[in-house]
């Protein structure tokens, strides 16, 4: 299991350098499943709102492990491996649905919504013949069960007994930044996914990288939606693994980008239809943009009035699914819903300020493919992994690697 970590060594510079083999080593990818995704981490599974009533279920993932999340007749949530105790078939094939119990299609073994094996077809045979020996206890081979933690309507799960309580896992700052957004009962607006041509970690770096946003996303800069010169800050959790980055919608009006002649600063480029950006400060703190991440693969995003959760499902060493779920609040009036939908033009695979994030990780994947032994330079903001009141820093990226190395034993 630890072939990879034994044969690989992190550069002496520490968190300010990342060796490129970390994105392209197949053994490391294998090992991440055991050490991170089924290890002492909390993985986002779904929104509570996606299990609307009692006796409902939906599929989710713990890294590459297929998971079933259920809400039982009493409204309690459960999650377990999507694997039959008998010969290992997927138990649930549909993405979501209603059910009082779950029956494996292969040999009709049945389970309750807690994931307990409750029935074995012809267990006692037929006409006194065949069947299973009485001493056989298939129950002990049942799907592995997850511990769950729900936080403001977000459902997280873990397979490990060591994982600390979610509040402790997140730390107070990240926790409060989550509560800031998830402040009321959620109304689902819809979902879609992107297939990213890169290792999952390259997307997480991108999310935690407050330095790139205003430089890669020209749209951002041009319309002063987000410039590093706008008041903002970055929060990094104690563990390093979680972060939040935010900025006020109001802009200093500075011309640093123009003076520096940034590619990303285009002049005289106005929207013919400005209502795209017309927003309401619904959270009352003037913050127009907040990107938050929870280790390993969860993202919570507020872009003006457009709200979304994203999470990653590794599909292989160089392929990752990025799943988006956009939402509003049950209390939204029509105008607010319309606003959220209009501002959804900013996000997703076709988003004015997020389409580049689907491609940039792939640019790195290809750029470093033949340089496994070289290093990236992650030194904006020095070597710090602490919260800062500015965003010209890669502190949260370093924080990610701090947490990652801890779990992987590098």
């Amino acid at each position: 299991m630890s072939v990879a970590t034994r044969s690989r060594h992190w550069p002496a510079e520490g968190l300010t350098r990342v060796p490129y083999w970390v994105y392209s080593d197949a053994e490391i990818y294998e090992e991440e499943q055991g050490r991170i995704f089924t290890g002492a981490t909390w993985s986002y599974l779904c929104l509570e709102a996606e299990l609307p009533g009692p006796n409902t279920y939906r599929r989710a993932n713990l890294g590459t492990m297929p998971i079933v999340v259920t809400r039982d007749g009493d409204g309690n949530l459960h999650a377990f491996e999507n694997r039959c105790a008998h010969r290992g078939s997927l138990l649930v094939l549909k993405d979501s649905g209603e059910a009082r119990d779950i029956t494996c299609v292969y040999h009709n073994w049945s389970y309750d919504l807690c994931g307990n094996l409750t029935g074995v077809a012809f267990r006692r045979g037929l006409g006194g013949k065949g069947g299973m020996p009485p001493e056989c206890r298939p129950e002990t081979y049942g799907p592995r069960k997850l511990r769950l933690a729900t936080l403001c309507g977000l459902v997280f799960g873990t397979l490990s007994a060591e994982t600390p309580p979610i509040e402790e896992y997140l730390g107070p700052d990240i926790h409060s930044r989550i509560r800031r957004v998830m402040r009321a009962p959620v109304k689902l607006l819809g979902s879609y996914s992107q297939s990213l041509p890169s290792n999952w970690k390259l997307y997480m770096e991108n999310v935690k990288d407050s330095y790139h946003a205003s430089l890669l996303h020209t749209f951002f800069t041009t319309f002063r939606l987000n410039r590093l010169s706008q008041k903002g800050a970055i929060v990094v959790s104690e563990s390093g693994g979680h972060h939040a980055s935010y900025s006020l919608a109001a802009d200093s009006g500075g011309r640093e980008y123009e003076q520096a002649g940034m590619r990303s600063a285009r002049e005289g480029f106005g929207l013919e239809e400005p209502k795209l950006l017309e927003w309401v400060d619904e959270l009352g703190d003037g913050i127009g943009l907040q990107i938050l991440s929870v280790f390993p693969t969860f993202v919570l995003q507020q872009t003006r009035n457009s709200l979304a959760v994203r999470h990653l499902v590794p599909q292989g060493l160089e392929r990752t699914e990025l799943a988006w779920t956009c939402f509003g609040f049950a209390s939204d009036d029509e105008a607010m819903t319309e606003r959220r939908l209009r501002q959804a033009n900013l996000i997703g695979p076709a988003g004015y300020i997020s389409m580049e994030d689907g491609a940039a990780p792939g640019f790195v994947q290809r750029g470093v493919a033949s340089a496994p032994d070289l290093l990236s330079v992650v030194e904006m903001g020095g070597a710090s992994v602490a919260s800062e009141d500015n965003r010209v820093t890669e502190a949260a990226v370093r924080g990610f690697w701090k947490a990652y190395r801890g779990y992987m034993g590098f």
Partner: protein, 158 residues
């Protein structure tokens, strides 16, 4: 059902996809009426009655904004589409407008030559007939993708 109407609808979509495939994005907004609507969504959202769209435009102006962003702001690798569309199924007509449904398949060709089936789905169109200059124009074009999964990004419109 008049063959002439059939032809007008088919020809509108034929010109529409050719403009995109020939990289004439600046012509794209003109296939719509001034307050025309263009939305790209997934069959999943559509069937669940969820309103979220990947692209959500309610005027020709918003389409022009997107074209200018694609030309001047957004970063994406050189790529082109090849649309293939099926026969149009003509629906109800009223007030000089006709509804139509058309299947499409879009291959994406990267500058490297890599070719993949990028999108499949159907157009749900509401079309204004005999519009002043343009002849026909979209009052509403709803693009319903069969898949919920987009490879890398969706820059060029569908």
């Amino acid at each position: 059902m008049s063959i002439d109407l059939q032809w007008k609808v088919a020809n509108l979509n034929a010109r529409y996809v050719a403009a995109i495939d020939d990289n004439k994005l600046e012509e794209w907004p003109d296939f719509f009426v001034a307050n025309g609507s263009y939305r790209v969504t997934t069959a999943e959202n559509f069937e669940r009655g969820l309103p979220l769209a990947l692209i959500y435009a309610t005027s020709r102006a918003m389409l022009r904004d997107r074209v200018r962003s694609l030309r001047d702001a957004n970063v994406y690798e050189a790529q082109r589409y090849r649309h293939l569309i099926g026969p149009a199924l003509i629906g109800g007509q009223e007030g000089g407008e006709v509804r139509a449904q058309t299947s499409f398949m879009v291959a994406r060709i990267m500058h490297t030559g890599e070719t993949t089936i990028f999108a499949t789905g159907r157009y749900h169109d509401r079309i204004l007939l005999d519009a002043p200059e343009t002849g026909e124009a979209f009052v509403e074009k709803l693009v319903i993708l069969d898949s919920r999964l987009i490879d890398t990004l969706l820059a060029i419109p569908l």
